[in-house]
Symmetry: C2
Subunit: 320 residues, 2 copies
């Protein structure tokens, strides 16, 4: 493929002139411009856009770290990010970590090496020291409350929202309340655990570890939860389920076994995903697509760093 040196030679101009034509520099005579364009057409010159980005220091790529490619929760976040990215001519580089630290570090290194212009971490694994180190290389945006506000974030106050939900279940008369959650670690999970433990303390309820169900990510995870409930002598009468998909799976499996929802088992979902509306699941609404949109906007507003809390809303339907 021809390079700009060859184009310059063909057009009888300097390399600088060719470069100016490529970059739409104003100080090039129409005559020279035409000669360069003709030469480029003759050899079907294709500019290497990576070289252009290299010189401009921008890639128009934004990294997005998610644990799984195929999860409705993260799917909605990615949808919100992608919709806003499209408007701004950005493309997403997807990092599926499977919650492996080294994958997240790879994403951070791509920011360091300027292969992406910004990095949105939807579910973080690295320690704060790591984030603190990498934040000097470009915008890192998180989806959780951030210590010392070192980077921008759009987040839910999970302590508060879990407390709202627990209070609601308690008001409905439930004494044995359990919860289903994705991973055990991570700030959002820790906040929820703290809210749960404080709620138990406040009401003098014992902590029953069997009432906490980890690794609840998908519809099909509902099956294992119902299997475990069946085995219990004194199962919880209500479950707070941090994903409507999992809630839908629990309800579907419970119904097949003849367990009455909400009379024998009350279910409260999270997110207000479309499946919650159709299956009439009582839930705490989190506007995930909107959170995704804000995450992208925060990346664009760098170096301005700010935190934005998203409010949740209790939606009463028929499963509590």
């Amino acid at each position: 493929m021809a390079n700009i040196r060859e184009i310059a030679k063909m057009a009888g101009v300097s390399v600088t002139t060719v470069s100016r034509v490529l970059n739409e520099h104003p100080y090039v005579s129409e005559e020279k411009k035409a000669a360069v364009q003709q030469a480029m057409e003759e050899v079907n010159y294709q500019r290497n856009i990576n070289a252009v980005h290299l010189s401009k220091g921008k890639t128009y790529l934004i990294g997005v770290v998610i644990p799984f490619s195929n999860s409705p929760y993260f799917g909605f976040l990615v949808e919100g990010i992608a919709n806003e990215a499209v408007k701004n001519n950005y493309k997403l580089v997807l990092f599926q970590t499977n919650y492996e630290l080294k994958r997240e570090i790879e994403a951070l290194n791509m920011l360091k090496q300027k292969q992406i212009d910004a990095l949105i971490i939807c579910s973080r694994i690295s320690d704060w020291e790591v984030i603190n180190e990498y934040k000097t290389y470009g915008p890192i945006i998180l989806c959780e409350e951030v210590e010392d506000k070192i980077v921008s974030s759009t987040y839910i106050d999970h302590y508060k929202s879990f407390s709202i939900a627990l209070k609601y279940l308690h008001q409905k008369g439930h004494q044995r309340i359990g919860y289903c959650i994705g991973r055990k670690s991570g700030r959002n999970s820790e906040m929820r655990e703290a809210a749960y433990k404080n709620f138990l303390l406040e009401h003098g309820h014992p902590l029953v570890l069997d009432y906490i169900f980890y690794d609840s990510f998908r519809f099909e995870d509902g099956e294992g939860i119902v299997d475990r409930l069946k085995e219990m002598n004194s199962p919880p009468t209500a479950l707070l389920v941090t994903s409507d998909q999992v809630a839908a799976g629990i309800i579907t499996c419970a119904r097949e076994l003849g367990i009455l929802v909400p009379n024998e088992l009350a279910i409260m979902g999270f997110d207000n995903q479309p499946i919650a509306k159709i299956m009439n699941i009582t839930t705490l609404e989190i506007p995930l697509v909107e959170v995704g949109r804000k995450l992208f906007i925060q990346a664009m507003q760098y170096p301005t760093i700010f935190q934005e809390e998203i409010e949740v809303k209790l939606i009463e339907r028929l499963t509590v």
Copy 2:
């Protein structure tokens, strides 16, 4: 930031030597190597990886075109692609097209401009002439049977699989069979439509346009389908639904209205997604994660071009 010229000066070696150290070239004395490394450490030299990729002509990015970020069907494909990409040190650049042609052209242009090493189009919009033009710029991999085998593809014979499903429903005694599908256009949809029409012809059934339900992508789309069925005087007794998620949505909404599945309405899904197993949905298994894996492998095997057909399998459960 220091460049390699400055590093060379500090270390008292040539630029070539610095370049050799960076590229782990064997013919560099340990002494010079140490001097270069010390100089790099002193100035905290950060190599611009885009410049490295530029010189190697590789980005380790693979483009993936999908209509929606948040769809279980495409989610499984992306999962398969992402799993294999991770193993090969590749990252995915996601193009969410919303079925807008210009978004797909943007993706094709990124291949042309060498911003990605290959492009997997999970659901194509462009004409064959466009694909034919862009295929000269790098590997394009499709998820459908390809005319004239101009690019690689991993595909399902949708004519055959639809015919299998229709024959099965017919053997079960159904005379009025409808189907639910994503978009109306696209080769996969056209193949299914052809199979459907030929089936009707063969059995002397009339074509009832109301029995075809387009824009059926998600669980929640089941609601509108059931609403339309309710309004019909002579609704289909069986539906072939090209996504288990939509099938699950139809079954859930039908049950709420007291419509008996399969007695009043038989439902046959597609894919054998986890939701089909849990809800006991009779389905045609398509190993989507495996299809995604093969799509990535085909991208890596370029310039070898080949087609691979994936077989479907009828899984009998309780909804037909």
